[in-house]
Amino acid sequence: MNENAKARINGILLSTAHKIGLFLAMTVICLPGLWIVLASFRPTVEIMAKPPVWIPQDLSFDAYIAMFSGVGQGGIPIIEYFRNSLIISVTSTAIALAIGMAGGYAFARFRFKAKSSIFLGLMLTRTVPGIALSLPLFFVYSKLGIIDTHFGLITAYVALNVPFTIWLIDGFFRQVPKDLAEAAQIDGCTRWQAFWQVEFPLAGPGIASAGIFAFLTSWNEFALASQLTRSVNSKTLPVGLLDYTSEFTIDWRGMCALAVIMIIPALVLTFIVQKHLVSGLTSGAVKG
Protein backbone atom coordinates (compact mmCIF):
# COMPACT_ATOMS: atom_id res chain seq x y z
CA MET A 1 0.00 0.00 0.00
CA ASN A 2 1.45 3.33 -0.96
CA GLU A 3 1.59 6.47 1.15
CA ASN A 4 -1.29 8.15 -0.68
CA ALA A 5 -3.82 5.41 -0.14
CA LYS A 6 -2.82 5.14 3.50
CA ALA A 7 -3.34 8.83 4.05
CA ARG A 8 -6.70 8.73 2.31
CA ILE A 9 -7.96 5.81 4.41
CA ASN A 10 -6.74 7.57 7.51
CA GLY A 11 -8.65 10.68 6.51
CA ILE A 12 -11.87 8.75 5.88
CA LEU A 13 -11.55 6.93 9.18
CA LEU A 14 -10.99 10.17 11.05
CA SER A 15 -13.93 11.95 9.50
CA THR A 16 -16.21 8.98 10.13
CA ALA A 17 -15.13 8.87 13.75
CA HIS A 18 -15.77 12.59 13.96
CA LYS A 19 -19.27 12.20 12.54
CA ILE A 20 -20.09 9.35 14.90
CA GLY A 21 -18.80 11.29 17.88
CA LEU A 22 -20.82 14.32 16.90
CA PHE A 23 -23.93 12.25 16.42
CA LEU A 24 -23.55 10.52 19.79
CA ALA A 25 -23.00 13.82 21.58
CA MET A 26 -26.06 15.40 20.00
CA THR A 27 -28.15 12.34 20.84
CA VAL A 28 -27.17 12.54 24.49
CA ILE A 29 -28.05 16.23 24.53
CA CYS A 30 -31.41 15.88 22.82
CA LEU A 31 -32.71 12.57 24.05
CA PRO A 32 -33.81 13.53 27.60
CA GLY A 33 -35.80 16.48 26.31
CA LEU A 34 -37.41 14.55 23.48
CA TRP A 35 -38.31 11.76 25.87
CA ILE A 36 -40.25 14.28 27.99
CA VAL A 37 -42.08 15.64 24.94
CA LEU A 38 -42.95 12.13 23.82
CA ALA A 39 -44.15 11.10 27.28
CA SER A 40 -46.49 14.09 27.44
CA PHE A 41 -48.41 12.70 24.47
CA ARG A 42 -48.63 9.13 25.70
CA PRO A 43 -51.32 7.66 27.93
CA THR A 44 -50.23 6.88 31.48
CA VAL A 45 -50.76 3.15 30.95
CA GLU A 46 -48.19 3.18 28.21
CA ILE A 47 -45.66 5.13 30.31
CA MET A 48 -46.12 2.69 33.15
CA ALA A 49 -46.18 -0.44 30.99
CA LYS A 50 -44.02 -3.39 31.94
CA PRO A 51 -42.36 -4.60 29.76
CA PRO A 52 -41.85 -1.15 28.25
CA VAL A 53 -43.68 -0.11 25.11
CA TRP A 54 -40.98 1.35 22.87
CA ILE A 55 -43.03 2.32 19.86
CA PRO A 56 -45.79 4.74 20.85
CA GLN A 57 -49.16 3.22 20.03
CA ASP A 58 -51.51 5.94 21.01
CA LEU A 59 -50.59 9.62 20.95
CA SER A 60 -53.00 12.30 22.10
CA PHE A 61 -53.30 15.76 23.59
CA ASP A 62 -55.18 14.42 26.61
CA ALA A 63 -52.60 15.59 29.11
CA TYR A 64 -52.80 19.15 27.83
CA ILE A 65 -56.58 19.11 27.76
CA ALA A 66 -56.66 17.78 31.33
CA MET A 67 -54.18 20.41 32.47
CA PHE A 68 -56.32 23.28 31.23
CA SER A 69 -59.60 21.84 32.36
CA GLY A 70 -59.26 23.25 35.84
CA VAL A 71 -58.72 22.01 39.36
CA GLY A 72 -60.55 18.85 40.24
CA GLN A 73 -60.48 17.29 36.79
CA GLY A 74 -56.83 16.42 36.87
CA GLY A 75 -55.88 19.97 36.07
CA ILE A 76 -53.88 22.58 37.94
CA PRO A 77 -54.42 26.34 37.91
CA ILE A 78 -52.05 26.60 34.99
CA ILE A 79 -53.42 29.88 33.64
CA GLU A 80 -52.78 31.60 36.97
CA TYR A 81 -49.29 30.12 37.23
CA PHE A 82 -48.49 31.17 33.71
CA ARG A 83 -49.80 34.67 34.36
CA ASN A 84 -47.79 34.98 37.59
CA SER A 85 -44.64 33.72 35.90
CA LEU A 86 -45.09 36.14 33.04
CA ILE A 87 -45.85 39.21 35.18
CA ILE A 88 -43.01 38.52 37.60
CA SER A 89 -40.42 37.69 34.95
CA VAL A 90 -41.22 40.59 32.64
CA THR A 91 -41.39 43.23 35.36
CA SER A 92 -38.26 42.10 37.14
CA THR A 93 -36.40 41.91 33.82
CA ALA A 94 -37.40 45.44 32.86
CA ILE A 95 -36.26 46.87 36.20
CA ALA A 96 -33.06 44.83 36.21
CA LEU A 97 -32.26 46.07 32.71
CA ALA A 98 -32.72 49.72 33.67
CA ILE A 99 -30.49 49.32 36.71
CA GLY A 100 -28.03 47.13 34.83
CA MET A 101 -27.71 49.63 31.99
CA ALA A 102 -26.76 52.40 34.39
CA GLY A 103 -24.29 50.16 36.18
CA GLY A 104 -22.84 48.60 33.04
CA TYR A 105 -22.34 52.02 31.51
CA ALA A 106 -20.50 53.17 34.62
CA PHE A 107 -18.10 50.21 34.40
CA ALA A 108 -17.57 50.51 30.66
CA ARG A 109 -17.04 54.26 30.39
CA PHE A 110 -15.69 55.65 33.66
CA ARG A 111 -12.56 55.18 35.64
CA PHE A 112 -13.02 55.20 39.35
CA LYS A 113 -11.39 53.98 42.50
CA ALA A 114 -11.54 50.29 43.39
CA LYS A 115 -13.33 49.56 40.12
CA SER A 116 -12.49 45.88 39.91
CA SER A 117 -13.19 45.24 43.58
CA ILE A 118 -16.59 46.88 43.26
CA PHE A 119 -17.26 44.75 40.20
CA LEU A 120 -16.25 41.58 42.03
CA GLY A 121 -18.30 42.66 45.03
CA LEU A 122 -21.40 43.03 42.89
CA MET A 123 -20.82 39.61 41.36
CA LEU A 124 -20.37 38.06 44.78
CA THR A 125 -23.87 39.08 45.81
CA ARG A 126 -25.02 36.76 43.04
CA THR A 127 -23.15 33.79 44.47
CA VAL A 128 -25.27 33.67 47.59
CA PRO A 129 -27.19 30.43 47.10
CA GLY A 130 -30.92 31.00 46.65
CA ILE A 131 -31.75 28.70 49.50
CA ALA A 132 -29.37 30.51 51.88
CA LEU A 133 -30.88 33.86 50.87
CA SER A 134 -34.38 32.54 51.24
CA LEU A 135 -34.02 32.12 55.02
CA PRO A 136 -33.62 35.80 55.95
CA LEU A 137 -35.78 36.94 53.03
CA PHE A 138 -38.58 34.70 54.25
CA PHE A 139 -38.31 36.30 57.68
CA VAL A 140 -38.13 39.88 56.39
CA TYR A 141 -40.94 39.32 53.91
CA SER A 142 -43.24 37.81 56.47
CA LYS A 143 -42.60 40.80 58.78
CA LEU A 144 -43.39 43.16 55.90
CA GLY A 145 -46.36 41.06 54.86
CA ILE A 146 -45.20 40.62 51.27
CA ILE A 147 -44.96 36.84 51.21
CA ASP A 148 -47.04 35.43 48.38
CA THR A 149 -47.19 38.71 46.46
CA HIS A 150 -45.88 39.60 43.05
CA PHE A 151 -44.04 42.55 44.53
CA GLY A 152 -41.95 40.39 46.85
CA LEU A 153 -40.81 38.00 44.16
CA ILE A 154 -40.15 40.79 41.67
CA THR A 155 -37.89 42.60 44.13
CA ALA A 156 -35.97 39.42 44.85
CA TYR A 157 -35.51 38.64 41.16
CA VAL A 158 -34.33 42.17 40.36
CA ALA A 159 -31.57 41.75 42.91
CA LEU A 160 -30.81 38.29 41.55
CA ASN A 161 -30.47 39.57 37.99
CA VAL A 162 -28.70 42.90 38.46
CA PRO A 163 -25.12 41.59 38.88
CA PHE A 164 -25.11 39.43 35.80
CA THR A 165 -26.93 42.05 33.75
CA ILE A 166 -24.24 44.56 34.67
CA TRP A 167 -21.55 42.11 33.59
CA LEU A 168 -23.17 41.51 30.20
CA ILE A 169 -24.06 45.12 29.49
CA ASP A 170 -20.60 46.30 30.51
CA GLY A 171 -19.27 43.93 27.85
CA PHE A 172 -21.61 45.29 25.18
CA PHE A 173 -20.83 48.92 25.89
CA ARG A 174 -17.12 48.16 25.69
CA GLN A 175 -17.64 46.96 22.13
CA VAL A 176 -19.02 50.37 21.14
CA PRO A 177 -16.04 52.60 20.35
CA LYS A 178 -15.69 55.51 22.73
CA ASP A 179 -14.89 57.90 19.89
CA LEU A 180 -18.41 57.69 18.48
CA ALA A 181 -20.01 59.20 21.56
CA GLU A 182 -17.22 61.74 21.82
CA ALA A 183 -17.74 62.77 18.20
CA ALA A 184 -21.44 63.21 18.90
CA GLN A 185 -20.63 65.36 21.90
CA ILE A 186 -18.31 67.56 19.87
CA ASP A 187 -21.13 67.97 17.36
CA GLY A 188 -23.21 69.45 20.13
CA CYS A 189 -24.97 66.53 21.80
CA THR A 190 -25.13 66.42 25.56
CA ARG A 191 -23.75 63.27 27.11
CA TRP A 192 -27.31 62.13 27.70
CA GLN A 193 -28.24 62.62 24.05
CA ALA A 194 -25.03 60.97 22.89
CA PHE A 195 -25.89 57.94 24.99
CA TRP A 196 -29.42 57.52 23.70
CA GLN A 197 -28.74 58.36 20.07
CA VAL A 198 -25.37 56.75 19.51
CA GLU A 199 -24.32 54.24 22.12
CA PHE A 200 -27.68 52.80 23.06
CA PRO A 201 -28.74 51.83 19.52
CA LEU A 202 -25.35 50.23 18.88
CA ALA A 203 -25.40 48.22 22.08
CA GLY A 204 -29.11 47.51 21.65
CA PRO A 205 -29.04 43.88 20.51
CA GLY A 206 -26.66 43.01 23.30
CA ILE A 207 -28.84 44.69 25.87
CA ALA A 208 -31.82 42.80 24.53
CA SER A 209 -30.03 39.50 24.99
CA ALA A 210 -29.00 40.47 28.51
CA GLY A 211 -32.70 41.08 29.11
CA ILE A 212 -33.62 37.69 27.79
CA PHE A 213 -31.02 36.07 29.99
CA ALA A 214 -32.52 37.84 33.00
CA PHE A 215 -35.98 36.79 31.88
CA LEU A 216 -34.93 33.15 31.70
CA THR A 217 -33.36 33.29 35.16
CA SER A 218 -36.59 34.57 36.66
CA TRP A 219 -38.70 32.22 34.58
CA ASN A 220 -36.74 29.20 35.78
CA GLU A 221 -36.00 30.17 39.39
CA PHE A 222 -37.17 27.71 41.99
CA ALA A 223 -35.28 27.91 45.31
CA LEU A 224 -36.59 31.36 46.28
CA ALA A 225 -39.99 31.00 44.65
CA SER A 226 -40.72 27.77 46.49
CA GLN A 227 -40.38 29.54 49.85
CA LEU A 228 -41.75 32.99 49.04
CA THR A 229 -44.96 31.90 47.33
CA ARG A 230 -47.95 30.21 48.86
CA SER A 231 -51.00 30.17 46.61
CA VAL A 232 -52.28 30.93 43.14
CA ASN A 233 -51.70 34.61 43.99
CA SER A 234 -48.04 34.35 43.15
CA LYS A 235 -46.99 30.75 42.51
CA THR A 236 -44.88 30.49 39.38
CA LEU A 237 -44.64 27.62 36.91
CA PRO A 238 -41.55 25.92 38.43
CA VAL A 239 -43.34 25.76 41.77
CA GLY A 240 -46.50 24.65 40.02
CA LEU A 241 -44.64 21.64 38.71
CA LEU A 242 -44.76 20.26 42.24
CA ASP A 243 -48.57 20.12 42.04
CA TYR A 244 -48.18 16.94 40.05
CA THR A 245 -46.35 15.18 42.82
CA SER A 246 -48.05 13.76 45.85
CA GLU A 247 -46.58 11.88 48.75
CA PHE A 248 -45.97 8.61 46.93
CA THR A 249 -46.94 9.02 43.32
CA ILE A 250 -46.12 11.34 40.51
CA ASP A 251 -48.36 12.09 37.56
CA TRP A 252 -45.56 11.75 35.03
CA ARG A 253 -47.65 12.51 32.00
CA GLY A 254 -49.12 15.70 33.40
CA MET A 255 -45.75 16.83 34.58
CA CYS A 256 -44.17 16.23 31.21
CA ALA A 257 -46.92 18.28 29.60
CA LEU A 258 -46.31 21.19 31.99
CA ALA A 259 -42.59 20.88 31.35
CA VAL A 260 -43.23 21.29 27.64
CA ILE A 261 -45.34 24.40 28.31
CA MET A 262 -42.53 25.83 30.44
CA ILE A 263 -39.81 25.12 27.96
CA ILE A 264 -41.41 26.59 24.85
CA PRO A 265 -41.00 30.30 25.72
CA ALA A 266 -37.46 29.62 26.91
CA LEU A 267 -36.67 27.75 23.71
CA VAL A 268 -37.92 30.52 21.45
CA LEU A 269 -36.13 33.26 23.36
CA THR A 270 -32.82 31.45 23.51
CA PHE A 271 -32.82 30.89 19.77
CA ILE A 272 -33.30 34.59 19.22
CA VAL A 273 -30.38 35.70 21.37
CA GLN A 274 -27.84 32.92 21.16
CA LYS A 275 -25.39 34.83 19.00
CA HIS A 276 -25.33 38.00 21.07
CA LEU A 277 -25.25 36.14 24.33
CA VAL A 278 -21.96 34.48 23.52
CA SER A 279 -20.33 37.63 22.19
CA GLY A 280 -21.42 39.55 25.27
CA LEU A 281 -20.00 37.02 27.66
CA THR A 282 -16.68 36.76 25.90
CA SER A 283 -16.10 40.38 24.98
CA GLY A 284 -13.14 41.61 26.93
CA ALA A 285 -11.83 38.09 27.31
CA VAL A 286 -9.16 38.94 24.82
CA LYS A 287 -9.08 42.69 25.03
CA GLY A 288 -8.73 42.67 28.80
Binding site: I29, P51, F107, L122, R126, P163, P238, A285, V286
Partner: protein, 298 residues
Protein backbone atom coordinates in the same frame (compact mmCIF):
# COMPACT_ATOMS: atom_id res chain seq x y z
CA UNK B 1 -18.95 72.09 49.69
CA UNK B 2 -21.40 74.19 47.71
CA UNK B 3 -22.14 72.82 44.28
CA UNK B 4 -20.48 69.47 45.02
CA UNK B 5 -21.88 66.82 42.75
CA UNK B 6 -21.33 63.18 43.43
CA UNK B 7 -19.20 61.61 40.69
CA UNK B 8 -21.16 60.18 37.76
CA UNK B 9 -20.17 56.51 38.17
CA UNK B 10 -21.33 56.65 41.76
CA UNK B 11 -24.74 57.95 40.71
CA UNK B 12 -24.99 55.34 37.98
CA UNK B 13 -24.14 52.51 40.32
CA UNK B 14 -26.37 53.77 43.11
CA UNK B 15 -29.57 51.98 42.04
CA UNK B 16 -27.76 48.66 41.73
CA UNK B 17 -26.13 49.10 45.11
CA UNK B 18 -29.41 50.12 46.74
CA UNK B 19 -31.32 47.12 45.41
CA UNK B 20 -28.58 44.68 46.30
CA UNK B 21 -28.26 46.20 49.76
CA UNK B 22 -31.98 45.94 50.38
CA UNK B 23 -32.51 42.43 49.10
CA UNK B 24 -29.16 40.73 49.69
CA UNK B 25 -26.89 42.58 52.12
CA UNK B 26 -29.37 43.60 54.82
CA UNK B 27 -31.09 40.20 54.95
CA UNK B 28 -27.67 38.59 55.10
CA UNK B 29 -26.66 40.78 58.04
CA UNK B 30 -29.90 39.78 59.70
CA UNK B 31 -29.20 36.13 59.08
CA UNK B 32 -25.64 36.55 60.37
CA UNK B 33 -27.12 37.94 63.56
CA UNK B 34 -29.70 35.19 63.84
CA UNK B 35 -27.00 32.56 63.39
CA UNK B 36 -25.83 33.61 66.86
CA UNK B 37 -29.27 32.98 68.37
CA UNK B 38 -31.29 29.81 68.94
CA UNK B 39 -33.98 31.31 66.69
CA UNK B 40 -36.92 29.09 65.81
CA UNK B 41 -39.77 30.25 63.62
CA UNK B 42 -42.22 28.86 66.12
CA UNK B 43 -40.73 30.87 69.01
CA UNK B 44 -40.23 34.47 67.84
CA UNK B 45 -38.86 35.54 71.24
CA UNK B 46 -35.85 33.28 70.76
CA UNK B 47 -34.52 35.79 68.23
CA UNK B 48 -33.33 37.97 71.10
CA UNK B 49 -31.29 35.44 73.03
CA UNK B 50 -27.66 35.49 72.08
CA UNK B 51 -25.83 32.21 72.41
CA UNK B 52 -22.51 33.19 70.91
CA UNK B 53 -20.88 30.65 68.66
CA UNK B 54 -22.88 27.70 69.93
CA UNK B 55 -24.62 27.11 66.57
CA UNK B 56 -21.29 27.15 64.78
CA UNK B 57 -19.66 24.85 67.32
CA UNK B 58 -22.58 22.54 66.93
CA UNK B 59 -22.45 22.29 63.16
CA UNK B 60 -18.67 22.12 63.05
CA UNK B 61 -18.71 19.11 65.35
CA UNK B 62 -21.66 17.53 63.56
CA UNK B 63 -20.68 14.54 61.45
CA UNK B 64 -23.86 14.86 59.39
CA UNK B 65 -22.96 18.41 58.44
CA UNK B 66 -19.43 17.47 57.44
CA UNK B 67 -20.68 14.56 55.36
CA UNK B 68 -23.01 16.90 53.47
CA UNK B 69 -20.20 19.44 53.13
CA UNK B 70 -17.77 16.87 51.80
CA UNK B 71 -20.35 15.51 49.41
CA UNK B 72 -21.08 19.01 48.10
CA UNK B 73 -17.40 19.75 47.48
CA UNK B 74 -16.97 16.35 45.84
CA UNK B 75 -19.99 16.92 43.60
CA UNK B 76 -18.78 20.36 42.56
CA UNK B 77 -15.21 19.24 41.91
CA UNK B 78 -16.18 16.22 39.85
CA UNK B 79 -18.96 18.04 38.02
CA UNK B 80 -16.90 21.11 37.12
CA UNK B 81 -13.96 19.04 35.89
CA UNK B 82 -16.05 16.67 33.83
CA UNK B 83 -18.11 19.55 32.42
CA UNK B 84 -14.93 21.32 31.46
CA UNK B 85 -13.48 18.27 29.67
CA UNK B 86 -16.72 17.33 27.94
CA UNK B 87 -17.34 20.94 27.02
CA UNK B 88 -13.89 21.16 25.48
CA UNK B 89 -14.45 17.95 23.55
CA UNK B 90 -17.86 19.03 22.35
CA UNK B 91 -16.60 22.46 21.29
CA UNK B 92 -13.78 20.89 19.30
CA UNK B 93 -16.14 18.40 17.64
CA UNK B 94 -18.46 21.19 16.59
CA UNK B 95 -15.64 23.43 15.46
CA UNK B 96 -14.35 20.67 13.16
CA UNK B 97 -17.75 20.18 11.57
CA UNK B 98 -17.81 21.51 8.04
CA UNK B 99 -21.55 21.69 7.53
CA UNK B 100 -24.54 22.58 9.70
CA UNK B 101 -22.52 24.36 12.34
CA UNK B 102 -25.32 26.78 13.13
CA UNK B 103 -27.74 23.96 13.76
CA UNK B 104 -25.20 22.10 15.89
CA UNK B 105 -24.60 25.21 17.98
CA UNK B 106 -28.31 25.64 18.53
CA UNK B 107 -28.71 22.04 19.65
CA UNK B 108 -25.72 22.50 21.93
CA UNK B 109 -27.54 25.30 23.76
CA UNK B 110 -30.56 23.11 24.33
CA UNK B 111 -29.83 22.09 27.95
CA UNK B 112 -29.22 25.71 28.91
CA UNK B 113 -32.88 26.50 28.44
CA UNK B 114 -33.98 23.88 30.91
CA UNK B 115 -34.72 25.21 34.32
CA UNK B 116 -32.76 23.22 36.93
CA UNK B 117 -35.98 21.99 38.45
CA UNK B 118 -37.00 20.64 35.06
CA UNK B 119 -33.64 18.92 34.74
CA UNK B 120 -34.33 17.33 38.10
CA UNK B 121 -37.74 16.03 37.07
CA UNK B 122 -36.48 14.89 33.73
CA UNK B 123 -33.72 12.78 35.21
CA UNK B 124 -35.94 11.57 38.03
CA UNK B 125 -38.18 10.25 35.26
CA UNK B 126 -35.32 8.79 33.25
CA UNK B 127 -33.66 7.13 36.25
CA UNK B 128 -36.92 5.90 37.78
CA UNK B 129 -36.30 2.30 38.87
CA UNK B 130 -39.62 1.05 37.55
CA UNK B 131 -40.55 3.02 34.45
CA UNK B 132 -37.40 4.98 33.70
CA UNK B 133 -35.76 5.08 30.30
CA UNK B 134 -32.43 3.81 31.60
CA UNK B 135 -33.76 0.71 33.29
CA UNK B 136 -36.18 -0.02 30.47
CA UNK B 137 -33.37 0.19 27.96
CA UNK B 138 -31.05 -1.98 30.03
CA UNK B 139 -33.74 -4.60 30.48
CA UNK B 140 -34.83 -4.58 26.85
CA UNK B 141 -31.22 -5.00 25.77
CA UNK B 142 -31.00 -7.93 28.14
CA UNK B 143 -28.12 -6.45 30.12
CA UNK B 144 -29.93 -6.91 33.39
CA UNK B 145 -33.24 -8.39 34.42
CA UNK B 146 -33.79 -6.54 37.66
CA UNK B 147 -34.71 -2.94 38.31
CA UNK B 148 -31.56 -1.05 39.25
CA UNK B 149 -32.47 1.30 42.12
CA UNK B 150 -30.81 4.35 40.59
CA UNK B 151 -32.30 6.90 42.96
CA UNK B 152 -32.53 4.72 46.03
CA UNK B 153 -29.03 3.38 46.43
CA UNK B 154 -26.76 6.06 47.89
CA UNK B 155 -23.85 6.00 45.46
CA UNK B 156 -26.00 5.28 42.41
CA UNK B 157 -28.16 8.27 43.34
CA UNK B 158 -25.06 10.42 43.63
CA UNK B 159 -24.06 9.25 40.19
CA UNK B 160 -27.51 10.00 38.80
CA UNK B 161 -27.38 13.51 40.26
CA UNK B 162 -23.95 13.99 38.79
CA UNK B 163 -25.24 12.96 35.36
CA UNK B 164 -28.12 15.42 35.61
CA UNK B 165 -25.82 18.21 36.73
CA UNK B 166 -23.29 17.53 33.98
CA UNK B 167 -25.98 17.24 31.32
CA UNK B 168 -27.40 20.60 32.25
CA UNK B 169 -24.17 22.58 32.48
CA UNK B 170 -21.73 21.14 29.97
CA UNK B 171 -23.21 23.37 27.28
CA UNK B 172 -22.13 26.52 29.11
CA UNK B 173 -18.52 25.38 28.80
CA UNK B 174 -18.94 24.11 25.26
CA UNK B 175 -20.45 27.34 24.00
CA UNK B 176 -17.87 29.62 25.57
CA UNK B 177 -14.93 27.45 24.55
CA UNK B 178 -16.33 27.26 21.04
CA UNK B 179 -16.47 31.06 21.01
CA UNK B 180 -12.80 31.02 21.97
CA UNK B 181 -11.88 28.53 19.25
CA UNK B 182 -13.69 30.57 16.62
CA UNK B 183 -12.08 33.82 17.75
CA UNK B 184 -8.62 32.32 17.61
CA UNK B 185 -6.35 33.51 14.80
CA UNK B 186 -5.33 30.65 12.49
CA UNK B 187 -1.72 31.66 11.77
CA UNK B 188 -0.15 30.42 15.03
CA UNK B 189 -1.61 26.94 14.50
CA UNK B 190 -0.32 26.83 10.96
CA UNK B 191 3.06 28.11 12.11
CA UNK B 192 3.21 25.41 14.78
CA UNK B 193 2.37 22.75 12.21
CA UNK B 194 5.02 24.01 9.84
CA UNK B 195 7.53 23.95 12.67
CA UNK B 196 6.76 20.25 13.10
CA UNK B 197 4.58 20.19 16.21
CA UNK B 198 2.46 17.11 16.72
CA UNK B 199 -1.30 17.74 16.97
CA UNK B 200 -1.04 17.25 20.72
CA UNK B 201 1.76 19.78 21.05
CA UNK B 202 -0.16 22.27 18.91
CA UNK B 203 -3.16 21.87 21.13
CA UNK B 204 -1.23 21.98 24.39
CA UNK B 205 1.01 24.97 23.67
CA UNK B 206 -0.93 27.02 21.13
CA UNK B 207 -4.66 26.39 21.32
CA UNK B 208 -5.04 25.70 25.02
CA UNK B 209 -3.44 28.89 26.34
CA UNK B 210 -5.62 30.89 24.00
CA UNK B 211 -8.93 29.37 25.01
CA UNK B 212 -8.06 29.31 28.70
CA UNK B 213 -9.66 32.70 29.49
CA UNK B 214 -12.85 31.49 27.83
CA UNK B 215 -12.82 28.38 29.98
CA UNK B 216 -12.36 30.56 33.05
CA UNK B 217 -15.27 32.78 32.04
CA UNK B 218 -17.38 29.65 31.90
CA UNK B 219 -16.02 28.53 35.28
CA UNK B 220 -16.80 31.91 36.80
CA UNK B 221 -20.31 31.96 35.39
CA UNK B 222 -20.90 28.44 36.61
CA UNK B 223 -19.54 29.13 40.07
CA UNK B 224 -21.83 32.15 40.37
CA UNK B 225 -24.65 29.71 40.12
CA UNK B 226 -23.35 26.49 41.67
CA UNK B 227 -26.28 26.34 44.06
CA UNK B 228 -28.60 25.57 41.18
CA UNK B 229 -27.68 21.98 41.95
CA UNK B 230 -30.03 22.43 44.89
CA UNK B 231 -33.06 22.46 42.62
CA UNK B 232 -31.89 19.30 40.89
CA UNK B 233 -31.19 17.39 44.08
CA UNK B 234 -34.31 18.68 45.79
CA UNK B 235 -36.44 17.13 43.08
CA UNK B 236 -34.47 13.97 42.35
CA UNK B 237 -33.90 12.67 45.85
CA UNK B 238 -34.49 15.54 48.27
CA UNK B 239 -31.31 14.55 50.05
CA UNK B 240 -32.66 11.09 50.67
CA UNK B 241 -33.00 8.21 50.96
CA UNK B 242 -31.98 8.47 54.59
CA UNK B 243 -29.71 11.47 53.86
CA UNK B 244 -27.45 9.50 51.56
CA UNK B 245 -27.41 12.28 48.96
CA UNK B 246 -27.73 15.20 51.35
CA UNK B 247 -25.93 18.30 50.09
CA UNK B 248 -25.19 21.43 52.04
CA UNK B 249 -28.14 23.21 50.47
CA UNK B 250 -30.73 20.52 51.07
CA UNK B 251 -29.50 20.26 54.64
CA UNK B 252 -29.98 24.01 55.11
CA UNK B 253 -33.46 23.85 53.66
CA UNK B 254 -34.46 20.88 55.80
CA UNK B 255 -33.12 22.41 59.00
CA UNK B 256 -34.82 25.73 58.30
CA UNK B 257 -38.21 24.76 56.96
CA UNK B 258 -38.88 21.22 58.15
CA UNK B 259 -37.29 21.55 61.59
CA UNK B 260 -37.92 25.33 61.78
CA UNK B 261 -34.49 25.87 63.38
CA UNK B 262 -33.64 29.12 61.64
CA UNK B 263 -30.65 30.06 63.77
CA UNK B 264 -28.87 26.79 63.14
CA UNK B 265 -29.83 26.81 59.47
CA UNK B 266 -28.45 30.33 59.08
CA UNK B 267 -25.14 29.22 60.52
CA UNK B 268 -25.03 26.41 57.96
CA UNK B 269 -26.10 28.79 55.20
CA UNK B 270 -23.11 30.95 56.00
CA UNK B 271 -20.79 28.04 55.41
CA UNK B 272 -22.55 27.45 52.08
CA UNK B 273 -22.20 31.12 51.16
CA UNK B 274 -18.49 31.10 52.00
CA UNK B 275 -18.03 28.03 49.84
CA UNK B 276 -19.68 29.74 46.85
CA UNK B 277 -17.68 32.92 47.37
CA UNK B 278 -14.47 30.95 47.56
CA UNK B 279 -15.18 29.16 44.29
CA UNK B 280 -16.12 32.39 42.53
CA UNK B 281 -13.20 34.47 43.77
CA UNK B 282 -10.79 31.69 42.86
CA UNK B 283 -12.00 31.46 39.27
CA UNK B 284 -12.35 35.21 38.92
CA UNK B 285 -8.69 35.63 39.93
CA UNK B 286 -7.68 32.95 37.44
CA UNK B 287 -9.74 34.70 34.79
CA UNK B 288 -8.07 38.03 35.46
CA UNK B 289 -4.62 36.42 35.33
CA UNK B 290 -5.38 34.57 32.10
CA UNK B 291 -6.70 37.79 30.56
CA UNK B 292 -3.57 39.76 31.31
CA UNK B 293 -1.41 36.92 30.03
CA UNK B 294 -3.29 36.68 26.78
CA UNK B 295 -3.21 40.45 26.37
CA UNK B 296 0.56 40.38 26.80
CA UNK B 297 1.19 37.50 24.42
CA UNK B 298 -1.20 38.14 21.55
Amino acid sequence: MKGWRPPAPFLLLLPAILVLAAVVIIPLILSLYSSFTPFRLTQPASLFTLIGFRNYVRILTDIEFWTAFGRTVLLLTVALNVEMLLGLGLAMLVEKATRGQRLLRTIMMFPMMFSPILVGFQFKFIFNDNIGLVNNALQSLGLTDQAIPWLIDGSLAFFAILVAEIWSSTSVFAILILAGLLAMPKEPIEAARVDGCTPWQTFRYVTWPFIMPFAYIAMTIRSLDVARAYDIVKIMTDGGPAKRTELLWTLVSRTAYADARMGLANAMAYVAILLSILFTVYFYRKLAAARTQIAAEW
